[in-house]
């Protein structure tokens, strides 16, 4: 390999690498688009035909109708549920044994859309899969969308068509915090905060599910299509011997004329969607709490970002090649660019405009390994961003903090903890985009999910695990070897080799964006071609509320 490389000049080699990068990321994003296609088209034509017989449209079509023409639906959590039967936590056997091991989209559609120019969080049960029932992953996704709505004070619109909790999986759906009841708890709290909750029922809402209608600020039911009751006709029959049709038990006319549990009677889904739009027209217009200026396109397009992104997640990256493709005018104001040469630039800090929105940047660079100098710079910059109410984009591609005696004595642990503290206490909106290795404490210092970024995204190069597969294989092997030797047994080298490989494969699989997305560890995989638009949109949504000032707590310095 080294011999082969020498034959080319360095410039030729870099150019060849850049072209290989481009080809690779084009293929990877193609893979991502195909992956999404599964949730767009879940159930295929037979499901569409089945719905048509009930005069229903697939929920995605209803959402398209609801959102202002020409406005893109900002989908969140689309990667949920894929191959969930093979996922070792929040998934696995419980799904597989019920033959629900693959639920592209996770059983519902969530995302932000503009209706009459106002951003709202839209929830739609996937009526083409398992009667729109809630699986544990569906609830995780629902909670996430409600949390985003609450944080940004977005009105919520529920397009409800659900059989309720998926009964065979009830243990993961019913009783815990974050389960089915939390949907209603959140609706009540949000409405008390003045965040409007609107429901269009387009199908069954049984038992607790009926509350999504009753708890709404205003709700809509459709004649002979929507039903809401505490118990459906079969249960009524068995409990009290009463024979009653669904329409007469809890149809649209029952709740809009008699019980008063619902507020608007319509005759079709189209009418229902129109009614939602009519309601949203009255919602107050929203502000953007930032000093936005006119958008200027970057001088480099996303393909340049692909060229500058190495195929190998663990190969060094020049992150400024990425930043120049995200920033307005490709203009980046760098903080402390000359500080700690070779070490300080493991993190690049600075600010830029993204589609006119001023945004601070904390970005992993080169190998991403964080040295003391880089950690200190990052902490300083987060504090400066917080103090000036500047939102922050974290471009995370760091495998961890630098190890070894020199760094430990110098205080890498202390300075790393400062980063963790700063990113915890930073109250301006944070958006994290994983673009490479995402391991260990670096996940914390660079605003992983636990540090409540307003949005957490990854690209196809992101790998989120406690450490790399390579390192994990080595460590677990060492421990295992010691245990065997301590017991006075001999190490079977062949067995050990297999074990090491198994650990590597496991980590590689579990860190993949599709795996982490399947269990909602991030809000979505963003393709290179979408990065600028989606990240800017994420900040726009996060800036629907005034930026809170930050308090920094007990920093070490």
């Amino acid at each position: 390999m080294a011999e082969e490389r020498k034959k080319m000049t360095r410039a030729e080699r870099l150019e060849a690498e850049r072209e290989a990068n481009l080809k690779h990321w084009l293929e990877q994003d193609e893979l991502l688009f195909k992956h999404r296609e599964e949730s767009y088209d879940i159930g295929g034509q037979p499901q569409v035909e089945r719905l048509a017989k009930q005069k229903k449209k697939p929920v995605r079509q209803l959402i398209t109708q609801l959102v202002d023409p020409g406005e893109e639906f900002f989908e969140i959590g689309q990667d949920c549920g894929y191959d969930i039967g093979k996922v070792r936590l929040y998934g696995g056997e419980i799904y597989d044994s019920e033959k629900r091991g693959h639920i592209p989209g996770g059983g519902m559609v969530t995302g932000v859309g503009k209706v009459h120019g106002k951003d709202c969080m839209i929830f739609g049960n996937e009526n083409r899969y398992a009667a729109g029932t809630y699986f544990p992953i569906t609830l995780k996704k629902h909670m996430r969308a409600q949390a985003i709505a609450e944080a940004s004070r977005l009105p919520c619109i529920y397009i409800a068509d659900s059989g309720g909790i998926n009964l065979p999986l009830q243990v993961g759906c019913f009783a815990d915090d974050g389960h089915f009841g939390s949907m209603f708890y959140n609706m009540c709290r949000m409405s008390a905060m003045g965040i409007k909750q609107y429901t269009l029922s387009t199908g069954g809402n049984t038992a607790g599910g009926a509350y999504i209608v009753y708890l709404a600020t205003e709700s809509i039911m459709i004649e002979k299509m929507s039903f809401a009751f505490l118990a459906g006709p079969p249960m009524v029959k068995s409990a009290i011997g009463e024979t009653v049709s669904p329409e007469d038990l809890g149809g649209a006319y029952v709740h809009t004329q008699h019980s008063g549990g619902c507020d608007h009677f319509v005759r079709s889904q189209d009418e229902g969607i129109q009614k939602l739009r009519d309601i949203m027209e009255f919602e107050p217009s929203q502000s953007l709490y930032t000093d936005r200026r006119e958008t200027r396109p970057p001088k480099f397009d996303y393909k340049e970002m692909m060229r500058g992104t190495p195929v190998d997640t663990y190969k060094y990256i020049n992150i400024k090649d990425t930043i120049k493709c995200l920033a307005d005018d490709s203009y980046f104001h760098e903080y402390k660019p000359t500080y700690g040469p070779g070490r300080g630039d493991a993190i690049i800090a600075g600010k830029m405009w993204m589609k006119g929105i001023p945004v601070g940047v904390v970005a992993s660079n080169a190998s991403g390994v964080i040295y003391i100098d880089a950690a200190r710079k990052a902490t300083e910059w987060m504090i400066r961003c917080g103090n000036s109410n500047l939102p922050v984009l974290f471009l995370q591609g760091s495998p961890g903090y630098m190890v070894g005696k020199a760094e430990e004595w110098g205080g890498i642990g202390k300075y790393g903890s400062d980063m963790v503290r700063a990113c915890s206490c930073l109250k301006s909106p944070k958006v994290t985009y994983v673009i490479g290795p995402d391991h260990g404490a670096a996940n914390y210092g660079m605003c992983g999910r636990a540090f409540r970024p307003k949005f957490a995204f990854t690209n196809m190069r992101g790998r989120t695990t406690v450490m790399s597969g390579e390192t994990a294989g080595f460590i677990v092997e060492t421990v295992r070897r010691k245990n065997i030797i301590d017991k006075g047994q001999t190490v079977d080298e062949e067995d050990m080799k297999k074990f090491r490989q198994m650990m590597r494969d496991r980590y590689d699989a579990e860190g993949h964006p599709f795996y982490t997305g399947s269990i909602n560890f991030h809000d979505g995989v963003i393709a290179f071609s979408e990065a600028r638009d989606k990240l800017a949109r994420a900040f726009e949504i996060a800036l629907r509320v005034p930026v809170e000032s930050s308090d920094w707590g007990d920093l070490k310095l």
């Binding site: 080294a2 663990y314 060094y316 070779g342 080169a366 190998s367 390994v369 040295y371």
Partner: protein, 71 residues
């Protein structure tokens, strides 16, 4: 003015990308240093000419060891 380019971390010289007499610009890669199982590019801190290369490929180097001198 001579500028010494030092190793930011301990590691092994994987590749030397320049020769004595080469003119380089700021941020241009000079040497690839393998450390923490990764290839780390050592880049020029300033514009200049390579005056001296003090290491060879596969050399093990320490933090702050001078790798190369620019003029």
């Amino acid at each position: 003015m001579a500028v010494e380019v030092v190793a930011p971390m301990p590691g092994t010289i994987a590749e030397i990308l320049v020769e004595v007499g080469d003119n380089v610009r700021t941020d241009e890669e000079l040497i690839i240093l393998e450390a923490m199982k990764m290839e780390n590019p050592i880049v020029a801190p300033a514009d200049g000419t390579v005056k001296e290369i003090k290491v060879a490929e596969e050399d093990k180097v320490d933090t702050n060891q001078v790798l190369l001198v620019l003029e």
